[in-house]
């Protein structure tokens, strides 16, 4: 700061606190709602402090035994979503690090063709090819399978471009030195490239985990069976304002459980998250 102006700093703090209140409030509100009884929730306004039903509600939602969305429990939904998020993140990293490796460290016919084929997928998000992609999934028998939920999400240009950009900064001398020492392509990849890419991989992992966890349109298209729902889709099926016996307190619990894991990942891996975000979007 150039001027030492305590009042301006105080204002800054106040604005930030106000901002945090706005940003955090919807999440807090849902958490509070998840700790009250159904009757309290249905009689607005909702109290500002958490109620006494925390354990009862969470216990019932997690182990209550009553499957609420077509016989599927929250544990199954969380498992599905975790599988999707992890598979998408890990699969995408593996696939794209390999193709970036090929493009940067090898010379072969159609190298640039391959690069452009990958690059152009940036311009073909699911949203612009909904129906034909669905048809492909049906033809391949991938509806209601984990493969169907994850495989098509694994190919995308962003991760490949990120790795390519990073690989291009690796000095050629390093490759030469490795070759002089008799290291083949696999050895170079495993012993030099992977260790060097560690932070990039961690950063990308956080971003892709969130990406996988928050998918909506894709799981909506390729799952019919409630057993295969992700938690986000299941929540959408749970909320119904026309329905008088929607169990809102359990909806709120499910909602909290759906947003908690990605929030934990973002907050706990904040350093990599910020790095991954700022770098992968360039």
């Amino acid at each position: 700061m150039i001027e030492n102006a305590p009042i301006r700093r105080l204002i800054a703090h106040l604005v930030l606190i106000l901002g945090i209140l706005v940003v955090a409030f919807p999440i807090y509100y849902t958490f509070v709602a998840s700790t009250h009884t159904l009757q309290t929730i249905l009689r607005p306004p909702l109290p500002l402090l958490p109620g006494k039903e925390f354990f009862a509600n969470y216990w019932q939602a997690l182990f209550g035994g009553i499957g609420r969305i077509g016989g599927v429990g929250v544990d199954r939904l969380l498992l599905n979503t975790t599988i999707v998020a992890l598979a998408v993140a890990i699969g995408k990293i593996c696939i794209s690090i390999l193709s970036a490796y090929a493009i940067v460290f090898f010379k072969f016919p159609f190298r640039m063709t391959a690069f452009w084929l990958i690059f152009i997928t940036l311009m073909l998000p699911v949203e612009v090819r909904i129906l034909p992609t669905y048809k492909v999934m049906v033809d391949l028998g991938l509806i209601d399978t984990y493969t169907g939920l994850t495989l098509p999400l694994m190919a995308s240009a962003t991760a490949t471009l990120l790795f390519r950009q990073f690989f291009l900064t690796i000095p050629g001398e390093l490759v030469e030195a490795a070759r002089v020492d008799g290291a083949g392509p696999w050895r170079f990849f495993k012993d030099i490239l992977l260790p060097l890419s560690r932070t990039n991989i961690a950063a990308l992992f956080v971003i892709l985990f969130i990406y996988g966890w928050t998918q909506y349109l894709w799981p909506l298209l390729v799952t019919n069976d409630n057993q295969m729902n992700t938690i986000v889709i299941a929540l959408r099926k749970m909320i119904s304002f026309a329905d008088a016996d929607t169990e809102w307190h359990l909806v709120m619990v499910t909602c909290v459980l759906a947003i908690l894991p990605p929030i934990l990942v973002v907050v706990l891996m904040q350093r990599w998250f910020v790095k991954g975000l700022v770098e992968s979007e360039k």
């Binding site: 930030l16 940003v23 129906l131 928050t214 998918q215 909506y216 349109l217 959408r236």
Partner: protein
């Protein structure tokens, strides 16, 4: 880029590329080409005959008042979302740049919404503002305001924009903070020595130097509002009431998947594809510039 040192293998690179290219061809190029092809076909109502009609579907879609309405809805929605999300984020980032103590804590508390799925962001706001049990809806009604986003199109739009912008604040905040940190302190100090006050410094130095970040975020936010907000619309309003919140992507989905008008839906997909290509081109041209001018 200088000629790189490479490995001499002939087959290996193809094997390395195979997984990505296979997925790309099967799930991206094949469906996209199908969309292009289908956009020029028309099926009779019973799905028995298909006819090749060239650009008739496009003409039909572009003259359809419903489509034009949906275009208008999307533009209003995207512009409001981008402006609100970026404005709030810029204010917060500038304030965070000013404080010394507690910066880390503020950042940690502000990045939460990034982790929330758009559809869930919509639901959170719906919990607070739905007329049956939302506390804020209750308060609004207590003041005599007739609040019902499930019946009133404009109010539904306000709700969607709030949820969409709320979710995007964290993202913009992080980029603005990074942008602010990249501005050399010496420039600001020099201006201060020349007698420029904090406001003047902000508008004549900081804000213009943030222009690349702002422009980049504008593109990203537009893409977000166009495409990633499908979940919000689907979970909160389902395009209603009436067609007041039917965005372009939502219309592709409902025409193709719910109403099964394949030709129209495909033509809309192709139009969307053109929009994405334009946005991506803008984004990459700009990235090129940023590399040069730092």
């Amino acid at each position: 880029m200088s000629p790189r040192v490479t490995f001499p293998n002939k087959i290996l690179p193809y094997l390395l590329l195979a997984p990505q290219l296979a997925i790309t061809l099967v799930f991206f190029y094949w469906p996209a080409s199908q969309a292009l092809y289908q956009s020029m076909l028309r099926e009779d109502p019973f799905g028995l005959k298909t006819k090749f009609v060239w650009f008739q579907n496009f003409a039909k879609v572009l003259n359809d008042p419903n489509y034009l309405n949906s275009l208008k809805v999307t533009v209003v929605f995207s512009a409001s979302t981008a402006i609100i999300a970026m404005g709030m984020a810029l204010i917060l980032a500038v304030m965070a740049d000013r404080v010394v103590r507690g910066r880390g804590i503020y950042r940690t508390l502000l990045i939460w919404p990034y982790a929330v799925a758009p559809a869930i962001a919509g639901m959170l706001w719906l919990f607070m503002f739905n007329p049956t049990m939302g506390s804020f809806a209750y308060m609004l009604r207590a003041t005599g305001y007739n609040w019902d986003p499930l019946l009133n199109g404009n109010q539904a739009m306000v709700l969607l924009v709030s949820a969409a912008a709320w979710k995007q604040i964290s993202y913009n905040f992080l980029f603005f903070v990074a942008g602010l940190q990249a501005i050399p302190k010496s420039l600001i100090e020099a201006a201060a020595i020349d007698g420029a006050g904090p406001n003047k410094r902000f508008w004549t130095i900081v804000f213009p130097l943030l222009a690349p970040t702002t422009f980049f975020l504008l593109v990203i936010n537009t893409v977000y509002a166009f495409f990633d907000t499908f979940g919000i619309v689907h979970a909160v309003t389902g395009g209603g009431p009436g067609k007041a919140t039917e965005t372009l992507v939502y219309k592709v989905y409902s025409d193709g998947f719910v109403n099964l008008i394949l030709g129209d839906s495909a033509a809309q997909s192709v139009i969307l594809m053109v929009i994405v290509i334009a946005l991506t081109a803008v984004q990459f041209r700009y990235v090129e510039r940023r590399v040069h001018y730092g």
